[in-house]
């Protein structure tokens, strides 16, 4: 059926009786629970993924590109051999991948605002953070997929995690929690900046120092003192340390606690700010 046929077929006179009965359905259900509203919006995010699977392209290509590039370009120089470096790099590059992908949440939000569906959401009376929480939950699928791509590629390149399956699963859990926490920064930017294009620009600008000034690629011991401080403050470093430890089965409980504290700090600072801007968007 062509688009034209579809339009012709779809326009027919209003059937007053059907319309009346549809309109007279009275009664209003209770306001949805916060969890149920979030799940519904996560469902929406997954539907979009299903309708345009191309979105998964960068989720898979980006980690493959980064892993190959860093392993073969710098592996020898940094760790003496590619095989050695892979053991160090894979955990870090998985964290970097989910951190980068979490930026798409902000893009999506910004697109919603530009389009008008945002007005629909805001004029309904459900738990407001659900729009963001739902989008972030939906993104968990992308994060997991991207992480899986890195794991498999790493394995092919000779990555042999000492933590086994359990270690990998625990590492994945930390990565998801971290990506969720980090997303609040991007969604805040998404609310503050007007067009999806500029959101993309600002978030990618921000993501470079965030990922490179960390312990993802190299051990910070060789860095100047001031940079070591930056690396230590950077939440990405704490997440990377925990993920690396869990994958290799050498994680100290302190590392995991530090990563969780970094995540909590991100949420405590940025979630309220994001919600504030969400609630006052256009209302000022």
């Amino acid at each position: 059926m062509t688009a034209m046929d579809l339009q012709q077929a779809a326009i027919k006179p209003v059937d007053e009786a059907t319309l009346r009965s549809a309109l007279s359905a009275q009664g209003r259900p209770r306001r949805p629970h916060a969890f149920s509203a979030s799940l519904t919006l996560a469902w929406r995010a997954l539907l979009k993924l299903r309708h345009s699977p191309m979105q998964l392209f960068d989720v898979t290509m980006f980690p493959i590109m980064m892993t190959l590039m860093f392993t073969f370009l710098f592996g020898g120089a940094i760790a003496g051999s590619v095989g050695e470096y892979v053991q160090f790099l894979i955990p870090g590059i998985s964290v970097m991948t989910v951190a980068m992908i979490s930026m798409y949440t902000a893009m999506g939000l910004s697109t919603d605002i530009a389009k008008g569906i945002f007005d629909r959401f805001r004029s309904l009376s459900f738990w407001r953070p659900a729009v963001l929480v739902g989008a972030l939950l939906g993104d968990a699928v992308r994060y997991s997929l991207a992480a899986l791509v890195v794991f498999v590629l790493g394995f092919i390149l000779g990555f042999r995690p000492g933590g086994g399956i359990i270690g990998m699963m625990a590492a994945l859990a930390i990565m998801l929690i971290f990506a969720f926490s980090l997303s609040w920064i991007w969604t805040m930017i998404g609310l503050l900046i007007r067009t999806p294009e500029s959101v993309m620009m600002v978030t990618s600008m921000a993501s470079f120092p965030l990922t490179f000034a960390s312990n993802i690629f190299v051990d910070p011991q060789t860095m100047p003192q001031w940079l070591q401080v930056v690396v230590w403050i950077n939440p990405v470093s704490h997440a990377t340390t925990a993920v690396r430890g869990l994958m290799h089965g050498t994680a100290a409980s302190g590392d995991i606690v530090a990563a969780l504290i970094a995540c909590a700090a991100l949420i405590v600072i940025f979630a309220p700010l994001t919600m504030y801007f969400y609630n006052t968007k256009n209302a000022r």
Binding site: A3, A10, A37, H51, G116
Partner: protein, 335 residues
């Protein structure tokens, strides 16, 4: 339909569904609303007319709690839009100027989404979505992505999404802007049915015809204040019964025709940009016949003439002394 646990909230009873007093709103240095007053009776349809930039959209966005007023009192069923925003949200529904539907989902998914966010169970949401798609003649398009919909279909889906729960008030912001005549009529039919079921409707429009078709009462705003408020009959009476448009065979005879028409109708004549056309306001339709006779006696040949209903332009001309601003040159301040 299944029965729901119905939540009731105490509602201060008022005669008016909407009461706006001395509403002001500025965006930066631009004062968009300068002391707007408005009352809408329960169960009626009020049309808010005005050119772009008059403040129509801003008013509707304030009424639907999307933006806050700077000052003034805005009550919807007695609830204050600032202090009782949630109570207002539960009773109103908005169909914005830009369709508030998700392009990347199907029509069915869009309605399920809204129903779920209103608190329906998955099963109820799907039932309701199907019911609405059928009622709006969209059943065949239900599994298509909305980005492939025509303007009219998208608009209908948008209205359907607004009435997943029948609202007490529906706000329609230029519901037929950019639609072809058939889709426009379809939307009008939907609005009439809504009115028949007791919904109060506030719609904004730039078309007097649309207001004429639907509205119980019309409020005309310009530059952030109300310049006229009345029934369609009252407004038309204020501008006379209409205007006479004449096109001459010979443009050179226009000055002569102008003089004759002005004398016969005892009113000022407007010379149109078309060199052979002229028009004038008519207070008494009886005079039209003698005007045409006088032209014919003077040997001025009239190619065609029409006695039209006053247009929004005529109303504006009568009320403000200037025509409604060019719709394409003035952009409405939305942000």
């Amino acid at each position: 339909m299944e029965s729901f646990a119905v939540e009731r909230s105490a509602v201060p009873s008022t005669e008016y569904a909407i009461e706006v007093t001395n509403l002001r709103k500025s965006f930066g240095k631009v004062e968009v609303l300068k002391g707007l007053n408005l009352q809408v009776q329960r169960g009626s349809l009020l049309a808010l007319l005005g050119p772009n930039g008059a403040g129509k959209t801003t008013t509707i966005r304030i009424l639907s709690t999307l933006i806050r007023p700077d000052s003034g009192s805005v009550r919807v069923f007695g609830h204050d839009v600032v202090h009782a925003a949630d109570a207002v949200r539960r009773r109103v529904s908005l169909t914005g100027q830009f369709a508030s539907v998700d392009d990347d989902l199907t029509g069915f998914e869009n309605l399920v989404l809204v129903a779920r966010l209103l608190g329906f169970s998955w099963r109820q949401a799907k039932t309701r979505a199907t019911e609405l798609l059928n009622a709006f003649g969209l059943e065949e398009a239900s599994d298509r992505l909305v980005k492939h919909y025509s303007g009219g279909m998208r608009r209908r889906l948008d209205i359907a999404a607004s009435i997943v729960i029948s609202p007490d008030i529906l706000f329609l912001d230029e519901p037929t802007a950019g639609l072809d005549p058939r889709s426009r009529r379809y939307v009008w039919d939907i609005v009439r049915t809504l009115l028949n079921t007791g919904t109060t409707v506030l719609l904004t429009t730039q078309y007097l015809e649309e207001a004429d078709q639907l509205a119980d009462r019309i409020v005309i705003i310009d530059e952030g204040t109300v310049i006229a408020d009345g029934t369609i009959g009252e407004l038309k009476a204020s501008v006379g019964s209409g205007s006479l448009h004449i096109r001459l065979r010979d443009p050179l005879r226009r000055p002569e025709a102008e003089r004759i028409v002005a004398q016969s109708l005892k009113t000022a004549v407007t010379l149109e940009s078309d060199p052979s056309a002229l028009s004038a306001q008519v207070s008494d339709p009886e005079l039209v016949a003698s005007t045409l006779t006088n032209l014919s006696r003077a040997g001025v040949i009239v190619n065609d003439f029409s006695l039209g209903q006053p247009s929004l332009d005529d109303v504006f001309l009568a009320l403000t002394g200037q025509p409604a601003e060019d719709q394409n040159t003035v952009k409405e301040v939305v942000q």
